[in-house]
């Protein structure tokens, strides 16, 4: 574990942590309605780390749903993590032990995945761990704070903090799109199709998790078919 990786992980994890706190805070308000105490909310968020998935679970708990529905919800809402984990597996140095691989997989969230795959050429485990640690602590604390003090933070502050995540997404996808115009085309196609899906009848009823999975598989498959990458490109 190199010290520099740990420091960079904390540095890049900090803006994620702030965004997480705001999102988890609003999640806590829903968790409270489902009957979760602050302690259970903290533990739940610490070990799940899934915004849409947790949202789905808490609304199901509030609706007295069956256990099988909880599992089904987790599978559908978090299916994108399967793709992310598969993609991240290609960003881990070949000689890395399976323990690190499993732990890094457990760290996968939209944002931690995003900054981890942005590392060149391979992502060091220490970087992912430190970014995941600080962001998860804020995520779990935000959820607990939302359960305790839900509704006390002004909505304009919550709204402003919640775009921090999207700002980071842009910072991750734009530089590679500038370097590789096929990535740029894929990003543009993603924006256009995602926007179209949110207003198209029937399709707009999909959850954002479902939309993410369907469009990710579709657009990435078409891009891979039209412009396959060479071994060097896939690493750089």
């Amino acid at each position: 574990m190199r010290r520099i990786d740990i420091i960079q992980g904390f540095r890049d994890g900090t803006p994620i942590a702030l965004g997480y706190f705001a999102v988890a805070f609003s999640l806590g308000i829903i968790a409270k309605q489902a009957g979760l105490t602050a302690a259970i909310g903290f533990v739940s968020s610490f070990f799940t780390r899934a915004s849409a998935g947790e949202y789905g679970v808490y609304t199901l708990v509030a609706a007295q749903a069956a256990y099988v529905e909880i599992v089904a919800m987790c599978l559908v809402a978090n299916l994108r993590y399967m793709l992310m984990s598969a993609a991240l597996s290609q960003k881990i140095a070949p000689d890395t032990s399976w323990v690190h691989r499993v732990l890094m997989a457990c760290c996968v969230t939209d944002e931690i995945f995003g900054i981890s795959i942005a590392r060149q050429t391979y992502c060091p485990p220490a970087y992912t761990y430190s970014a995941a640690l600080i962001s998860t602590l804020f995520w779990a604390s935000g959820c607990a704070a939302g359960i305790i003090a839900g509704g006390m933070l002004p909505t304009n502050i919550v709204a402003a903090l919640s775009v921090a995540l999207y700002g980071m997404f842009l910072a991750i996808i734009m530089p590679p799109a500038r370097d590789d115009r096929y990535v740029l085309y894929a990003v543009i196609a993603s924006f256009v199709l995602s926007g179209a899906c949110s207003i198209t009848p029937m399709v707009s009823n999909w959850s954002s998790g479902t939309r993410t999975i369907v469009l990710t598989i579709l657009i990435s498959a078409v891009a891979a078919w039209l412009k396959p990458v060479t071994v060097e490109e896939a690493h750089g």
Partner: protein
């Protein structure tokens, strides 16, 4: 729902969500040689982040206008390689100012 059932629900959610993350990692040993699969996984990160950003970014703000301006300025700042924290901070500041003033 009583406290006992809530805890079972939470445990199920924790186990399921982490299994989803771990299983692909354990199944894929080393580097993938299939060219299509490699290319597919190369595009996945960018596509999935782009899909999650739009249109959610302009739906989460109080007025769609503030989210849209933050999106455009964020794209320009990111294009100029300003880094994660600066881009995120610029987007937050734009939304806070526009939602508070308008």
């Amino acid at each position: 729902m009583d406290k006992h059932s809530i805890i079972i629900c939470i445990l199920l959610a924790i186990i399921t969500t982490n299994l989803i993350r771990v299983v692909p990692m354990l199944l894929i040993k080393g580097q993938i040689n299939n060219r299509f699969l490699r290319s597919f996984l190369y595009y996945v990160p960018y596509v999935t982040l782009a899909v999650m950003t739009f249109p959610s970014m302009i739906q989460t703000t109080i007025s769609p206008l503030s989210g849209s301006v933050a999106l455009v300025v964020g794209i320009i700042a990111a294009w100029r390689r300003m880094g994660l924290f600066p881009v995120a901070a610029i987007c937050c500041a734009i939304v806070y100012l526009m939602d508070s003033l308008i």
